[in-house]
Amino acid sequence: MKFAVIVFPGSNCDEDAVRAVRRVLGVVVDAIWYQTASLDGYDAVIIPGGFSYGDYLRAGAIARFAPVMTAVRRHALAGRPVLGICNGFQILTEAGLLPGALLPNEHLQFRCEIVTVQVETNQTPFTSAYRVGQQIRLPIAHGQGNYYADAATLEELRAHDQIVFRYVGENPNGSVDRIAGIVNRQRNVLGMMPHPERAVHPLLGSTDGAPVFISLLHTWEALFAGPSPVETSAVGVRSACAGGRE
């Protein structure tokens, strides 16, 4: 299995995403410059966190015009997985690949902390390694994570089991229905404000993010039967994380 991590000017969690994929899965992962026109050969795409183009107009609003987004759209329409984390989630909503929008946090401050999130569905290629109802600890760090969708869209999201993560306890940003992450109707595009790539090592305070990557690999392996080529000697990590989570 081969991962692409998109790098926009201003992305700053790209390296973290690359390292997380390597650490958890040990598969091939490449950083892909935003001017790249094709994502052929990649099985999964991650749009990482950061401040693409400084988030100066509106988070994600300029990144959606970048050349690579045409390829991301093609990749998504072909049914292959796209994971947008934080700024990546914002870019996916701006690009229309996910419904709704991310507004400035209700309290108007940037908020960084480790929060509890509930897994609402494991019927996605990103969450199959979690239990439904499982409460996990993931870092958040954003100024515009206040998810908003109109009533009709929300109804759609609920009706089709598209709400993937909800905040438990204090709502850190004012998101409607405590939404922390959603998938598209086809279930192959996930946007989430929490950072699974920052929760993949016990010393980071949580390893609860690892199953997102493990789920992707398992789904891919199930589809294409057989383990994927491993880039480094991280297989041990992969089995250890998988074992500890299920």
Binding site: P9, E15, F51, Y53, G54, R111, E197, H201, L204
Partner: protein
Amino acid sequence: MMAEEPTPERIRDQRIYRDFGLRDDEYERICARLGRLPNYVETGIFSVMWSEHCSYKSSRKHLRALPTTGRDVLQGPGENAGIVDIGGGLGVAFKMESHNHPSAIEPYQGAATGVGGIIRDIFTMGARPIALLDSLRFGPLDRERNRYLFGRVVAGIASYGNCVGIPTVGGEVVFDEAYTHNPLVNVMCVGLIRSDRIARGVAEGVDNPVLVVGAKTGRDGIHGATFASVEDPQSHERSAVQVGDPFMEKLLLEACLELIERGIVVGIQDMGAAGLASASAEMASRAGNGIDIDVALVPRRETGMTPYEVMLSESQERMLVVVQRGREAEAQAIFTKWGLDAVVVGRVAPPLSDTSARGVGGLLCIREGGRVVGEIPVAALVDEAPVYDRPAERPAYLDDPALMAADDLPAASDLTADLLSLLARPTIASKAYVYRQYDFMVRASTVIRPGADAAVVALPDFSRGIAMTTDGNGRYVYLDPRRGSIHAVAEAARNLVCVGARPLAVTDCLNFGNPGKPGIFYQFVESIRGIGEACRALGIPVVSGNVSFYNETGGQDIFPTPVIGMVGLVENLEHLITPDLKAAGDVLILLGSDAVTLGGSEYAAMRSGRALGPTPPVDLGLEGRVQAMCREVIGAGWVRAAHDVADGGLAVAVAEMCIAGDTGAVLELAAPGRADVALFGEGGSRIVLEVAPEHVAMVEQTAAMRDVPCTTLGYVTDDGWLALTLYGKQRSDIPVKVALSVKALREQWEGALVWAMH
């Protein structure tokens, strides 16, 4: 802007140079050195290069006394940042700098550009920035303006650091009346570097091209350096404060690191204070060369800029780079990829041949198109900047018995209420309100997050970690400049030791009032003495630093506030220690002396509403032994939690450990003297350890062997109460008891800053 620049004669006759901050005798020196009258642009360049901010003319003589060498030092003071070796081919580059004056006028941009500047100081060395820390000081939060300054400074730091993607992992926030008119914003950046890839700010190789890279040049921030060198910046215009663009910084950071990695760079330097003038002169000076610059080639974002404005602009996110001749195109390709300008604006010029007459080094030659508009020997700007031996005189207040009377405070009437009040003091209370606005986890390496004694960032392979902290205690230094400064160094080192690190080196940020006052200068000189003494005793060199004078408004000076930034190495991340208590039944042990006083304490300040001395004594021998022993027992795996005993004394330290661990504790103390002194008194060299019962004997034996006082305080409980019992001198004395639910303690500690701001 002026329609026409004054002639050299008018500058002299109307003493226009005074408006630039130059003194009469300095101006005369310039004329004598040049053998003619300086023109407008030359006068401007001299004024910034000879300003306190750039030349350190008041402090230089005394800073020389600091220990700056050591086994691990790869780069000492004099460069953009200091670097220490951590083995494995890696080094840590770090520096702290003040942005006090801009932040007092425009707190959001002032703080943000402070962050931007210090980040550039780190990546200009070729280091990848891995962490930021901020040491902040404000006036009390019961005043609207102080809340505004505090809120906007924090928001400015957050906006910049978060966007660039460097975690803000630590620092300190202190509130005191002394900082009402002059808030302190000291920013530290830490970077990781391959020790064989250090880049330096040198203009070497005659004829090598000189490039301006990054943002375009505008009229912002002209004379920022000068204005940081005069008292009461409020009287100046906000337009002297620059505006930051963290997105541009992120691009510049990546492009510069790529450029250095490629080996194209000969020398590189941030254009910070005094912009192009200072960067070119300093780079030329370090190499003993000159620089020839054509200001017409500098990319601008405003029209009609004069050579004077281009040379002195402090527009942010720009660097001056010297590359190998013939590799300009390669360099430009990298910057084009990142969407940045990289324009050749000049060449490295040879040293002057007639050294006897004009000193060592070359000429800074400024052209506009074909016309030479300024020509100054580099040596005159840098090496020959004035050095002042300012008079220092012990200020009278230090001998005022009424000020040194903390121990005369009447004994406390309600210890329980006092403990709660101390925890709610904004200086002691939880700083989560601040650090949750900072992205402290980006780069996914922060293994000890804000709120502990020190922060720790893991190296990429998660085997080792870099510990970092900032510490200062202006009240201690005010009450005893030398001793207070020793405390600052000792506490910084203790904080590192408490997380399991070995202290490596110091960067200092020295914030003082007006050095023209002999009393203030005495504080400065004594403070440096103290820092030097402590660094020598503990074996920790000073590798970089910054001086900020003129923190004075309306004749009122700040507390003299040297802030110590320190980094250390955690050799084994498995032995990472945090202050939260872990398990009921564990034993609490105090390392260090139980001789404490109310002098200088937060408690005395709370009770009296002002600083009351004297600053507690400090025994550097004991300090060293306590720290060495703490590292020893942590290394042996016998310690579950450790916490430095600082502001608020033992009771506050243990309360913080209970709150962090969500546990209770029972403590029994022998307190032959006053109960409030035993609970809230301060003194250095003290650490509380949580030790599993089976390891207590080993810890005690080690203490005996290492000649470290070691007292069993009590044990950890799971009943959610902190219970303190103090036994008097005699068996018959009724013990004093203080018992509080940890929930109540937490409410005060966690709520204080949030309540104050809403």
